[in-house]
Subunit: 390 residues, 2 copies
């Protein structure tokens, strides 16, 4: 284990009707007037927005609305939100949605009290030291933003998609997690969410730091639970218990507990970002392709952790060296992802002729000549990994 | 899973020299003058108190001292601490020690802003709604109080030992966890700490709530890590990595993450309390005797969870029904505890003629006619469990 600081103060209210506590929770934070941020009309049609507004009203909280947040959220709505908050004297944010909505709300929250342009934080030109409180009603278990201090925003002017990580300021004050809100998620989106949360664990699990037994075992435990519960939510989208387990797994996957005491990797996310940037694929589906490809490269160059994962998560018990064991684990991971209906290759992802040189070039331009926490990679290696996606 | 609220906002600084951040952390909380609470001279002799005081001085924080806190802390020092805090205008507490010291500091923190007597909270006559901030420098990984909202205090007038559990107010604001501070713990105290943290997990794990796969897997993961790392700290008390894993396991065992989404049990703790009350044994050693005895009773009456534990934590893979599997798991747990040098029977605990009727009587007088979350027990059953300790 290496030295670490860990603080995950988000207050989770989990279970039936959790969204009806939005008003109480904001009120307990001293909020009087909030910005309600959400995506498109599905949350209105389902009646969720009505219920959330009723809860605000019951707590005598006023609100303004910023809606229409798209996947891969951009700086435009962030600036619009900051302007509304300043103009209306807003003192808190309520994000109702998944990662894109939450990340947008977080960026607005940090931008409001800052004199300069909010992008300064994402560009590394300034450090957040104040933010409005953010609350969350989660509708998509995937990004883990409801419990993380991260926010991923794309700057449309430069096309830079940057993930900002903070220890404290971007963590939601509360997250309301009602598994029933996820019953209506389409199967593909459910599956993408599962791939995303698994990736959040793997990015922390594949670490150069050894002797992190407690954190390893916690990470493996959450992965095993996902492997157990994932097929159940695909088979019956209204299986409350399975939905509940997947929802909680998505939060633990990214609130930091699976990373305590070790360096992390994050190469698969970086490589997938370039696939998404060029071809606009769903993040989770892209990860289902890139992550096992990255692991396959590792099985040949640094197989120890993959072999441990294979043995402990997928119960691989075959003869052979760590490479063979790791490859068998990856085969089982791929079979699991495929069983959820996810693609395993660029072709299955709908990319007929992937421009691998362009992805490699953009990857290293954005992230540096050498990348990777678990194993250092340069262009020839990342190209090899992209080719393993074919 | 059942509905739950979970908020564990303690800020953990973990690693080499963590104690030297006491001043910064208190300063960040706005503290100017604190009460430094600790036990006996070992923390002075080791130089720890000097280092902590140097850190306070560097942060321009003044302090008063309350020392001499004993195991099984009582109301006397709590009242003394409250008086010092009020008299001196103290605005925060720093506990340097294990569970007894931390629990005392928490009780003082809650008592200072309260008009009545602090015991009202422990007696269930009042609810805490304010407290001074508490910081911790942990020296004994065992009680888990550094990350919990609990505090166990004994009232000397009535001899009532009461564990108060709060969601928020009794949680430390920060905990500084330096594994090196645990190098000097005697083997028996190290082993008792391991039994205590395992019990904190088991008390949550043995639950009437089913379909809590994520929380089960996390709990099993921490248990497996303890089983892996425990023997290493016994073999080499200065093995930093093993000490670090045990320290972090002790925190996760009791900060609530192993309990999310389910009802809990806590019978073994209640039954051990009566053994300690009558015979003054170390809490962890008492648990090493009582907890497997309780599990043995369960193997015959409600074997499912014990069998799951046996398979997943101890890798039991024998033919037979759940009872047989659970019993084999208990045998392995006992072998593990024995390997740490812990007692497994009342006799090994040094109790030659245990007064079981007195323990049963006190248990049900304090806790009610019927007790237990996983399985309901009345006097005939708890007597049977105490007899399994012989």
């Amino acid at each position: 284990m290496i030295d670490f600081t860990y603080c995950a103060p988000t207050r989770y209210r989990f279970g039936h009707g959790a969204e009806n506590h939005a008003g109480d929770e904001l009120s307990a934070l001293g909020c009087k007037k909030v910005l309600l941020v959400y995506g498109h009309s599905s949350a209105e049609r389902s009646g969720l927005i009505d219920r959330v507004e009723a809860s605000l009203k019951a707590a005598s909280i006023q609100w303004h609305i910023l809606k229409g947040i798209d996947p891969n959220p951009t700086d435009g709505p962030v600036r619009e939100g900051i302007e509304i908050c300043r103009r209306e004297g807003i003192d808190g944010l309520l994000a109702v949605g998944g990662g894109s909505v939450i990340d947008t709300a977080k960026a607005i929250a940090a931008g409001v009290p800052y004199q300069g342009d909010f992008w300064d934080f994402w560009a590394g030109k300034a450090v957040i030291n104040a933010a409005l409180p953010v609350g969350v009603v989660l509708t998509i278990p995937a990004a883990g933003s409801e419990g993380s201090g991260n926010s991923v925003i794309t700057n449309t002017a430069t096309n830079a998609k940057i993930s900002l990580r903070t220890d404290f300021w971007l963590r939601p004050k509360f997250a309301l997690l009602d598994p029933e809100l996820t019953f209506s998620l389409p199967p593909f989106q459910t599956a993408c969410g599962i791939a995303d949360m698994m990736a959040h664990i793997y990015e922390r699990y594949f670490s150069p730091t050894t002797q992190v037994e407690v954190t390893d075992r916690v990470a493996e435990g959450v992965l095993r639970a996902i492997v157990e519960e994932g097929p159940k939510v695909m088979a019956d989208p209204t299986d409350y218990q399975a939905r509940a387990n997947i929802m909680w797994a998505g939060t633990l996957a990214h609130n930091g507990v699976c990373g305590c005491g070790r360096a992390e990797d994050w190469t698969s996310h970086a490589m997938e970002h370039e696939v998404s940037a060029l071809y606009g694929v769903a993040h989770g589906a892209g990860l289902a392709v890139v992550m096992p490809a990255w692991m396959t490269f590792m099985a040949h160059h640094a197989p120890a952790k993959g072999a441990q994962m294979a043995r402990r998560v997928f119960g691989v018990d075959i003869a052979g060296d760590d490479t063979a064991v790791a490859l068998e684990g990856i085969a089982r991971l791929r079979a699991f992802l495929k069983s959820l209906g996810l693609p395993l290759t660029f072709a299955e992802l709908g990319i007929a002729n992937p421009d691998i040189p362009a992805m490699v070039e953009a990857l290293h331009r954005n992230k540096g000549e050498e990348i990777g926490g678990y194993y250092r990679l340069r262009a020839p290696q990342t190209e090899e990994i992209y080719r393993l996606c074919l």
